[in-house]
Every structure is written in C-alpha cells, then in structure tokens.
Symmetry: C2
Subunit: 579 residues, 2 copies
C-alpha cells in the first residue's frame, strides 16, 4: 500500500459510501460532496447529539428555530455580507485562470493566513507569478462569496443563498422575543445548509461550497451578566486556550478566563466549555483540540472577539470545526436600522430612577422680533436642547441655541420629575457556530485505524451507523433465519442494525469494522440450542457470550452507557477473525 493515510481514508469513504464528490457521474463539481448510506446517517447522528447537548439540555433557555436557505437581499445587505463577505481573487492575464490571491502567496511559502488587505496588495505590487503558467499576476480584487439568485418571475427580487444560518435568527429575533414573553437571556439555535461560493475550493471535504452549520445566537444584556442556573456546572470547566500573540496554550476555568478578560463574556465561556464536552463525546482526544483566538486585525466585520475551535486531523493539521464570536449588538442594530423595526429589549432598573423631564416652548413672533432672519436656525437648535442644557439654562437665566444666548424669559419651560422603571437596549450576542461536515471528517480521521492489514473505523458508539451487525455463523441449518429474527428484535429495541450472511465470518467482521459498526451479534449452533449469542467488540475484537434474554440490556449498556464488553457476558474464545 503505497498511498498516504489520507488517500486510504478517502478511498474508504468512497468505496464504503461515507462521502464522495457530488455529481460524480458528470465528472464532479469542486466544493460539493454527497453522503452515502454510511455517512449520511452518522452526520444525522452528530446533529442529533448536538441538538441534545446544546438545545435539549437547556429547557427554557435555548430554543431551535428554522428559516429558509434562500434569503431576500435586504437581509444580507444589513448583515454586511453584500459588502464584506469577500475573498481576494486574482486572474492570470496570460492563462486567464482565477486564483484566490492569499492562497497563491501561501503556496509560494508566504504565510498569508492572517494577512491584512494592505499587506496582500503590497506583495502583488512587487509581482507574484501565476502558479499555473508563470506569468505575472495582476492586481487582486474582492470577490463576493454569496450565491446569488432571483425570487419570483423575471425582473423579481434579488435573493442569496444564506452564507450563515445566523441571519435568519436575527431577522426573527423580534418575533421570538415576543413569543418568549420578553425573556432576558436566551439562545436561538439553527441547524441547516449554507452556501459559500469559494473561488477555488481544495482540501476535499474541508472546504466546501455547501455545508451544514449548527449555530446558536445567544442574546443577553451586556450590563447585567450573571450566570444562568443551567450554565453553573460549566463555570469550573477548564478551557484550552491559545490567546492572540501567545506561543503556548493555557488551561483556565471558564470563570478564570472571563475574570481575566481573556474570554470576553461569561456566556461565551460557558458555551466554549460545552463545545469541548461535545468533542469529547465524539471521541476526539483532549490533546487534539484547543481554542485559537483570532487576531484582532483578522476579525470578521461583525465580531468583537472570535475563538476558533481547532481540531487536529492527519492530513491538514489543525482545522477549524467551530467559531465562537462575540457579535455584540452589530447585527440587531443593523437590522433595526435597515428594517425600521425596534429590535430592542427591556431592562428593568433595580429600583425606579427619578428622571427630570423638561418641555420648552416659545412664541415664534417674540423670537423673530429679537433675532430676525436667524430665528429659523435658532428654533431648530432649541428643539435639540438636551434636558441638562435646559436645566442649566434655568439656573443661568439663559440657554445657548445656535451660538446665541436666549433669555429664559422668552421661553416657556415646564419641568417635572418622573419615575422610570427601566429602559430599552439592544441585546448583545454570543455565537457558537459549528460546521458539521468538518466534524464528521475529523471523526473519521481520528477513528481510522489499521490492524493486521485491515481497516477499523473507531467512530464513537453513540453516533455510529448502523450500531449493530447481525451475522449467522453460517448460512444454513436455520442459523440465517434465526439471525434475521434477531435483526427484527434488535430493531425493536431502538437500535439501527444490519445483517450480513455473505462469505466467511472473518470477512464479514472485517466489513463491519471498516464502516465502524461497534458491535456484532453472532448467531451459531449454540444459539439454536439455548438462545445465547456472541457479542464482538469492533475495537478490541474480543467476544463475550450473552444469554438471549440479556441481549437488550447488554446492547443498551454497551451502546448507550459506553460499558466495556467484558462487563456484558462471559469471555468467549474468539471465533472467526481469520476465517
């Protein structure tokens, strides 16, 4: 086998139907993948695990919503994507090919990952060669990554395929705030497809033009941050952090990282801890992930602070599987401005505040008699006087309007004191944003093992698909019929299951190992006699013998509670690895 491990992984994924290039029969399209029977369901299981850990675990705090993929233009104008969601593109004047300008530099050994626009331009000013034909490339431009379409017949409205599920959440925030009876702190989650029209996607399954996001927009009052009860058990969790400019990771509890200002708010810290727990559940070892702070100069236009959750994969090194951004009030403010709707929330004061209200009126004739042609200008200025200025004016005997002292005797001023119980404010937002497809890849990369010339895919039991393989020792003497009954029985217990009777038992174990089926149930001649069956563990190849009536319990403990195989029955002399 002379191929690299990465090539063997891709070969497995194609051959056994995890994922492969889309539209394969038409030669494929870069940046799109299809999921086959083995992969689609593991992906769905990852999504359901996330839903359980990030949504269902927080009743009355985090809620799921769903908005369309096709989005009217206004929304991505307000979000800043029409203006800012671009990558630098450069065309070769000779061979006419397009390249992503920063990637060209990186391929030529210039570290352009965190480069600014000005720095990038200065390289191209000095001349950069075309990676394809060697001619000198032109000046980079900005290429917008939104997929564009039109909604409705002919001249219609412009629409975009959403580049993030987040904007759908922001535009329904007002409705959700009302539905949730003006909750003070809450998160809205969305799971769905997004499109990003990458200039020239490489990195196979890691840089896709269409992928699935799982996002939460967590809304809160920035001046009243206190830990919600449901997050309390996350405060003492240790985060693995690599801060901007630092050379080594630190381990700090959420509480420490927030207190020191390393992580910009408490909710972000708690959700970061949850992100780590999620990866651990997915079988990613702790030494294979950390949070990387995005340098200030490279922050997306909406972000005050961003932490990328990085996972190590064999071929590509550290890759980002989630981004945590503190979006502040950027999005709600911008949508409020563009839509004209009030997207604020209400903040009650601890105790009512006394506010002086003043109301200034005047007789225009009196003013005109004194100030002539300047009167209009003065009246405009009077309208803009702040309460404090008026109150000060009452003490001084005059106010200043358009640079002119106006005697308070020429004005009618009514001042009164009112109780105010609270005020309106635009909530701030912390966002965890996960990419499901990269997580699935990381999980396959992490689980890919080779043992005695075979492939064993150690995907975690709770997201594996199918969960159970049922095999008759041989395809005769009623063992096959009995095994098929077991399939039906196991399915009724709520597990996904597959049956295989073709070929030697050893070959069949190997086939199950390759797609990561955690446990095999083998039906043999003793099963005919006493109902007992063999369970075989994918990871250790160990086998135990279990009574027929204990099968459901054994599978539950193994697949749901992560029990060791040895706890489930009596050791059984291995049958079949080499047959």
């Amino acid at each position: 086998v002379s191929e690299s491990r990465y090539e063997r992984i891709l070969d497995l994924c194609k051959r056994r139907g995890f994922f492969f290039q889309s539209a394969e029969i038409y030669g494929g399209v870069a940046g799109f993948i299809d999921y086959g029977p083995a992969g689609a369901r593991i992906k769905a299981n990852i999504i359901n695990l996330w839903r359980e850990m990030f949504i269902d675990s927080f009743p009355d705090l985090i809620y799921e919503v769903e908005t369309p993929v096709i989005t009217p233009e206004q929304i991505f104008k307000a979000s800043g994507h029409v203006d800012h969601f671009t990558d630098p593109i450069v065309r070769c004047p000779s061979c006419m090919r397009f390249f992503r300008a920063d990637h060209v530099l990186e391929e030529q050994g210039i570290p352009a990952g965190n480069i600014t626009e000005a720095e990038l331009m200065s390289y191209y000013d000095k001349g950069v060669k075309c990676p394809s034909c060697g001619a000198t490339l032109g000046k980079p431009e900005r290429f917008n990554l939104l997929f564009k379409t039109t909604i409705g017949p002919y001249e219609a409205t412009t629409g975009y395929i959403r580049a993030e599920t987040a904007q759908g959440i922001f535009t329904l925030y007002k409705r959700a705030y009302e539905v949730l009876r003006e909750k003070k702190v809450f998160g809205l989650a969305q799971i769905g497809r997004v499109g990003r029209n990458e200039i020239s996607p490489r990195q196979g399954p890691l840089r896709l033009r269409e992928f699935t996001q799982m996002e939460i927009e967590f809304f809160f009052d920035p001046i009243n941050i206190s830990c919600v009860a449901q997050f309390e058990n996350l405060l003492a969790e240790h985060l693995t952090l690599l801060t901007e400019g630092s050379q080594k990771v630190v381990h700090e509890t959420v509480q420490e990282a927030v207190n020191s200002g390393t992580v910009s708010n408490l909710y972000m810290g708690c959700l970061m801890a949850l992100g780590q727990r999620f990866l651990v559940q997915l079988g990613i070892p702790e030494e294979n992930f950390f949070y990387l702070e995005v340098p200030k100069k490279n922050l997306p236009h909406y972000s005050r602070q961003t932490w990328d959750l990085m996972v190590k994969v064999d071929r590509w090194g550290w890759v980002e599987v989630a981004g945590y951004s503190y979006r502040g009030d950027f999005d709600l403010k911008s949508h409020a401005q563009h839509s004209g709707e009030d997207l604020s929330a209400y903040r009650a004061y601890d105790r009512p505040v006394m506010k002086e209200k003043v109301n200034v009126t005047w007789d225009p004739k009196v003013l005109r008699g004194k100030y002539g042609t300047r009167t209009g200008e003065i009246i405009d200025a009077l309208k803009l006087l702040k309460p404090d200025e008026v109150l000060e004016g009452m003490r001084n005997g005059f106010v200043v309007a358009a640079g002119q002292k106006i005697s308070i005797s020429d004005l009618t001023i009514k001042a009164e004191v009112e109780k105010e119980y609270g005020e309106r404010f635009v909530p701030h937002v912390t966002e965890p944003s996960f990419g499901v497809d990269r997580i699935l890849y990381a999980l396959i990369d992490t689980g890919f093992m080779e043992r005695e010339g075979r492939i064993v895919l150690r995907v975690p039991r709770r997201v594996a698909y199918p969960q159970v393989g049922v095999l008759p020792l041989v395809k005769r003497d009623g063992l096959d019929a009995l095994a098929k009954k077991k399939v039906e029985e196991i399915r009724r217990y709520g597990f996904t299951v597959t049956y295989d009777e073709d070929g030697a038992i050893g070959r069949r174990y190997a086939r199950l190992d390759e797609i990561g089926v955690p446990v095999a149930v083998t039906v043999d001649y003793d099963t005919l006699r006493d109902g007992s069956i063999t369970l075989r563990d994918r990871d250790t190849w160990n086998q135990v013998r279990v009574k027929g009536e204990d099968l459901e319990d054994a599978l539950c403990r193994f697949l749901r509670l992560n029990a060791q195989l040895s706890e489930l029955g009596t050791p059984f002399t291995s049958q079949g690895e080499n047959t």
Copy 2:
C-alpha cells in the same frame, strides 16, 4: 371572535411561534416561512418519525443519503427540469403584473386544475381579464420554476437550487449500487430543502417557494418483482384509492390493488400503505385522507403513474401532502445518456442461456479486387451485420452488405456457442415524496380545538414539543425549587420539557394547551411531603396523582406507548383549570 378558524390558527402560529412569514421585519417575502421555537422542533420530530418508519424499519433495504441543494446544470438538464419544470405565466399589458395563467382561470370559476396546455391557450385566445386592473391579458408563456445561480467565480458554471431531492439520489445511484454490493432491490432516501420559484405563491404555508422534502427512490427490476420479506406485513393493508375518472373511493388491499393493475407495482403499493400508517401515527383520522390518481394527461414528464396522498384541511379542502410516482427508468436512462456512464444493474438468468456468437473477418484486398470503389462502403456494412444475418448467410452461401451479395467464401466466419448467465438492465423506480411543511400544517389544522374559549392544540404526543410542562402550584415555599429539580429529572429521562411559574395555575395550563404540550406535571404541597405529583392530560384536562418514583414509568407509558392518563395513577380532583 369574528375571525375565521383559519385566521385564528394563523394567529396562534404567529403569537406562539409555530411559523410566520420569513423576513417579517422587512415586510416579508411571499412563499417563505420561518419556524419559531414551537414549530421548528415539531417539524424535526415529524422528520425523525418518518426516518424511523421509512428508513430504520427496513434495515438493509432502505438507506439514507444526502446531497447538496446547489446542483450543477447538467443534472437538471438530464432530469428534464430545465425543459419541463414550468408553470404558465401571463402578464397584464396594462398594469404589468404577472399571474399564474391557470390560477387566473380558476379564480374566475373555470376548473383549470387538470387543464392541458392547449385547453389553457384556447381560453386565453378568447380573452381573459386581468384580475387586478381588468385589461385583457396577453398570451401565456412557460416560466421555469428552477432558482438559478452560478457556481465559482464570474463566468462560472450555471447551477440550480434543486427542485426535488430525487435527482441527487439518481446521480449517486451508480456509487450506491457498488457500495451496496450490487443489491437487487433497494431504496435510497433523502430528507432536505428544495426550492421552487413559484410565480405568485398564495395559500400561506401550503404553497412555499422553499420547503422540506422526504423522498425515497426505490430501485427494482421490473421483470422480477416479488415482495421483499420486510414489506410482507404491508400486503394486506387496505389502501383508500380514488382512481382516475372514478367518482368514489375504493378500499383495496395492496395485493388486490396491484393484482387488478390499479396500482402499477407492488413496491409502490407497499410504500403507499406505509404512507397511510404514517398519517395515522400523526393523528390524521382515516376519513381525512385518500390517494388520488393523477389523470394520465397531467402526469409529470417522468411519471408513468402518480398517486397524490390527499389530506383534508379546514381552510383549503383536500391538499396533497405526498406524491407517489412510478418513474420507470426515465431518470437513470436519461442520466446514463447525458453522463455517458453505465447506470445499469445486473439481472441473473434463472438458468444460463446459450447464445451463438459469430465473428466475421475478411481480406480487404480480396474485396477490393471484386467491388472496387464500393469496398469501403461494403466493409462498413459488414461490420454492422447482426449474428442472425451472418448465421442465415452461412446457410444461404452469401450475406448482403450495402445491397451487395457477398459470398461467404470471401469471408472468414467463426461461430461459437457461449453460455450467458445474466444481462444488464436499467432499474425501475418507485418514488414516495413527502412535503414536511404541509404535513406540519395539516397536523396543526387537525389538532386545533377550542374549548371553553381556550385553544387546545392536540398534536400527537410523539411529535409534540415540548413533551412535558412542569408547574409549581405556587411560586413560593420551595415549590418552585422542587419543580425545577423535576425539570432536570424529566430531561434526564430523555423528554423535552418546559417550566412555567408565572401567573395562576389555570393560565399556565392554558398556555401549555395552546402549544400542544401533552402532559403537565404539577408540584404542590403534598409533593413536599411525600414526593407525589399530579399529571394533567392536555386533551381531557383530567388529572391523576402519581408517586414520585413512578414518574419516569408514567411518562414513558403516556408519551411513548400512548397510554390513557387514567391508567397511570389515582384520579385527582381537578386543580386549577379556572384559577
């Protein structure tokens, strides 16, 4: 309340966050809806139920796959959508508005639902008035409903937002056939978003420009149809069918309907029976659904027979929630032709067949000596001779090529008999295609009840969200803290749960009823003493008292096994409906 029931349903959906118009703060976009916290999760639960019933129930027979929303042009060219996926559109020359030409006729009382193109045109030839300004409308044209975009930078490839998930399945069929080791009969399922650029969508949640499909493409050999074991229990199920031209529904078993030719193949019949079971699980009464045969003249371009699964909803009458089409070999043949790939499957003969193979060669010089300038033409014709023609030639002493008798003595003919064990063929396909959004609407419409001036939403327990509401009788004396502990406990049992402490208990029950929470758990002073709690049934408003340690079991029986509330504990004198 002077609004119609439909308006009250829409009001509920908006007010409590089931669904509402997308981009509401921007004035909305026709044909798109957002799902809020109450709706998004019920939708996900419907999808998971379908996945369980249509995929997981059939291990090694039906598999899930996932392909992108954005699809390269070739695929929708091959599928016929670029040419045929159109609606008739007409523009008013006076007010310049666009209308769907058949809908204009329907609004003017002409039954145009099943009209042919020619019939439609003849109405417009006679003159149809604009519904908006009254001017005479022009000639209808065909408007293509595919949303168009471009993939890659600038001049790039054309792409479409898929109009059905099916085409993604057909284009990965070859890969799946290999991955599944050349299985003879299997289904590939896909759940995902699709877009259809409707001309002027009305009917609120029923005619959407973007919605979620759940589809299965079920592949089989049309000349070797026999019931797969896993479908056997469906054969005796009764289908409710309204065949083309018939005035009343008939009830036939799947087996009868297939034998009589009413339903065009066995797999379609079985999957239709499953569709009925699915609706029953969703609480749709049997009298509220039936299968309607689509008239031959209105069949989509790919279909040999289509049955629409119709469900009754209050405002719109009978609406299609699923379409079952027998697509024959249309799609695979067309993709094979457009891609140049072999998309056939292998059919083994019952016993090997003897086939005579003949091989004809010649010496060009000999032929040239006899036929001069005609030789080239004759050789081309000789190459195309069929085995039968050669064998007949051997008997006659000559073959005919390009109109010329050629003596077999001028040819070298080798004939031999070969055993053939099978042949290749293009599989046929039966497709059930469900629209999730319409099903969700049907379920809300069916479950919407009004009782004593309140709304009770009777969504089935297994898809309701949340499943359990926890209420302290009052918000003091530790009842609230104890109730919060119950929330955590119930969540750990695997149920979705909500907590409410605000306001009188009766108001809180009413709020839970409105969003369809099937059961409320109430914590009162007796709970403090002995741990017992009250369960209240949304549908009957009855209450029972249950011991604390029996809570998990009671909830499992009520929510998963559909037990009656009265079976779960001792009757409890109602507390709180009017407080």
